[in-house]
């Protein structure tokens, strides 16, 4: 039996990653967390995630830098969903251009995440 999909939660607030972790694990997925771009790169390289939920504002820079760093390292690019507090069109365009599957504006409802995670992890082969 293949391992359950791994969801990497990247946010510098432990409150956020803890709440999302409960949700992700309740759905039967595996879960990893990271609080910075550097930490996320290390976690993603050690165990490639199926999905990344990525906060854009991280202590060591722009969250989207994570995708550049993974590409530079030749690592697979997981389905990435950006979480942002800024609901403007420019941010959305920037995320999609960087390769994000979707852009969710914080606060994200549980229902949106449940529906989204089912979609993003569907047919995944980690």
């Amino acid at each position: 039996m293949p391992a359950a999909p791994l969801v990497l939660l990247v946010d510098d607030s432990a409150l956020v990653t803890e709440a999302l972790a409960v949700l992700v694990e309740a759905m039967g997925h595996r879960c990893a967390t990271a609080a910075s771009v550097a930490e996320a790169v290390a976690v993603a390289r050690a165990d490639p995630p199926t999905v990344i939920l990525l906060d854009l504002t991280l202590p060591d820079g722009d969250g989207l830098a994570l995708l550049d760093r993974l590409r530079e390292a030749g690592a697979p690019i997981p389905v990435t969903v950006a979480l942002t507090g800024h609901d403007d069109a420019a941010t959305r365009a920037r995320c999609l251009a960087a390769g994000c599957r979707a852009v969710l504006t914080k606060p994200v409802s549980t229902a949106t995440l449940l529906g989204g995670l089912a979609d993003w992890t569907a047919g995944a082969t980690p």
Binding site: S13, L15, V16, E18, A19, L20, V22, L23, A26, M27, G85, D87, D88, A89, A90, K106, P107, V108, S109, T110, A111, L114
Partner: protein, 322 residues
């Protein structure tokens, strides 16, 4: 007042010596001094280039004191403005940071509600629903404060697109139907689909409309009506070459109405006309101030026509082109 804001004192303090109230009035001055005072007023200076100030002249002393006061006042105003900007920035930061833990609380509660961690008893479920309901209400208010603070700090930007108003209004009516039903208020819209497309920030205009409709429902007694209408108004061509045409949107109600002397006040931040009504309304008091800010960002205007007991009609006008 002065106990609360000691920094303001210098503005109202008068020089303790050499001056008396009314000393500036020509009729008060000793007649022998009159020519010198005229010279001073017309800007005459002594050969050395400094103002002809006579330390013994009550007029000169008074003038110098006033100039010093004016300087201090200008300095204080600048300082207060700087503090006001800091406070606004603080408000924007803090409300942004308030949302993070609040969202986490709501997420945890929703996970419990959805039975993802096991089935809940009916009493447990009711309790969790209370957490979620309170959390969402708080989140909405924090969001409103954040929008207000960003607006006050000129950090709100528009993302305009061309869109039709009718579907936006239609969606809003559907969204507010449950609230209207709860208040036993009939909610209807009459927005012609033939209106031209509007070039504006859809989300922000939806916010303005939602705010006006929410207010109308809240302040209309059971059995009343709330309506949304829109029409095209042809204004005078503008200097910039625009046609002057604008889209005028109306949100009317048969509610308690607003006294004319409050028509300006209600669009100011923190204003709540009737505290007893507002207490049942659960508002931040920022809704209409935000609506005004968002409409003005579009180059439009917002106003109300109302009288006590005769319902209210809120209007906002958005320029269509130019």
């Amino acid at each position: 007042m002065s106990k609360l804001s000691p920094a303001l004192d210098p503005i109202v303090l008068l020089p303790s010596e050499g001056a008396r109230p009314g000393a500036l009035a020509p009729s008060d001055a000793p007649s022998a001094r009159a020519p010198e005072q005229e010279a001073l007023r017309s800007g005459a200076r002594d050969p050395g280039g400094s103002p002809a100030v006579d330390a013994n002249d009550p007029f000169d002393v008074r003038l110098a004191a006033l100039e010093a006061q004016a300087g201090e006042a200008a300095h204080l105003i600048a300082e207060l403005q700087a503090r006001d900007r800091l406070k606004t920035q603080f408000l924007a930061n803090i409300s942004h940071d308030l949302r993070t833990p609040l969202t986490a609380i709501i997420t945890h509660a929703e996970i419990l509600r959805d039975g993802m961690l096991g089935e809940l008893s009916e009493a447990q479920r009711r309790s969790v629903l209370g957490i979620i309901k309170g959390g969402h209400q708080l989140l909405q208010m924090v969001g409103e404060i954040l929008t207000y603070a960003r607006g006050a700090a000129d950090q709100l930007t528009l993302a305009p697109t061309a869109f039709a108003l009718a579907p936006v209004v239609e969606q809003l009516v559907v969204l507010n139907q449950p609230l209207a039903a709860k208040h036993d208020v009939a909610l209807a819209a009459d927005v012609p689909t033939t209106l031209p497309l509007i070039h504006a920030d859809r989300e922000k205009l939806t916010h303005v409309l939602g705010n006006l409709v929410g207010n109308a429902i809240h302040f209309t007694p059971p059995g009343g009506r709330v309506w949304i209408a829109a029409r095209l108004a042809g204004g005078a061509p503008t200097v910039e070459g625009g046609s002057g045409r604008e889209l005028v949107v109306e949100v009317g109600d048969t509610g308690i109405g607003i006294a004319p002397e409050h028509h300006e006040l209600i669009f100011r931040e923190f204003a709540q006309v009737d505290a007893s009504t507002s207490r049942t309304h659960h508002g931040t008091g920022l809704g209409l101030a935000i609506a005004r800010k968002l409409v003005e960002l579009h180059g439009g205007r917002i106003w109300v026509e109302s009288a006590l007991g005769e319902g209210s009609r809120f209007y906002f006008a958005i320029p269509l082109d130019g």
